[in-house]
Amino acid sequence: MEDKATLIVESGDYDKLYSAFIIGNGALSMGMDVSMYFTFWGLERLKKGQLDKGPLSKMNFLGLGKLYMKWKMKKANVRSLEDMLQDYVELGGKIFACDMTMDIMGIDKEDLREEVITEYCAVGTYIKEAKESEITLYI
């Protein structure tokens, strides 16, 4: 077992992306290695300009709920998703993009933010890392 956290980010919802990055950054801050595997709707968020474009998972109300949430977050001085992603990369967090999702959804590498992606991979890479991780989460 290594001091490692491995997260699958399947959801593209705004609040769930926050969960993923807060947990990821928290684990990095505690001195762990972290890998996040972006698949399906999660991978959509790694397209250029899409990181904070997901709906709220509950009470989105056609975007009004999300606006309210963003306002509350701003008041609570919560860091933006973009800043959290930058923190994650700066602290050495790894980002993997699921290549099958890219095939299914017709996503090309040029559509994605390649500068933050460590590797394009399939399920085997995840299982290998998850086997040696103390924390694994599916978001």
Binding site: I22, N25, G26, L28, S29, M30, G31, M32, A76, N77, V78, R79, D87, E90, L91
Partner: protein, 74 residues
């Protein structure tokens, strides 16, 4: 020569104090002292946990008026 590094997290929310502490630790050299100040209450407990799991030395945790100050030796 040990340096003193200051990390100001006043007004910052989860997980920023932890993250900024970690960034400072990564940049610091052995023997440096990092002083983190903040007012996010959970971080006052959690930064010492991170210090322990990174195998660093917790020098002090102080409450000063409405904020806390944590000193870490790298």
């Amino acid at each position: 020569m040990a340096n003193e590094i200051k990390v100001d997290c006043l007004g910052e929310n989860c997980p920023v104090p932890l993250v900024e502490t970690r960034k400072a630790v990564r940049k610091a050299e052995k023997g440096d002292i990092i002083t983190v100040t903040g007012d996010h209450s959970a971080s006052k407990k959690e930064i010492p946990m991170a210090v322990e799991s990174m195998g660093l030395e917790l020098v002090s945790v102080e409450e000063i008026n409405d904020h806390w100050e944590i000193k870490i030796k790298v």
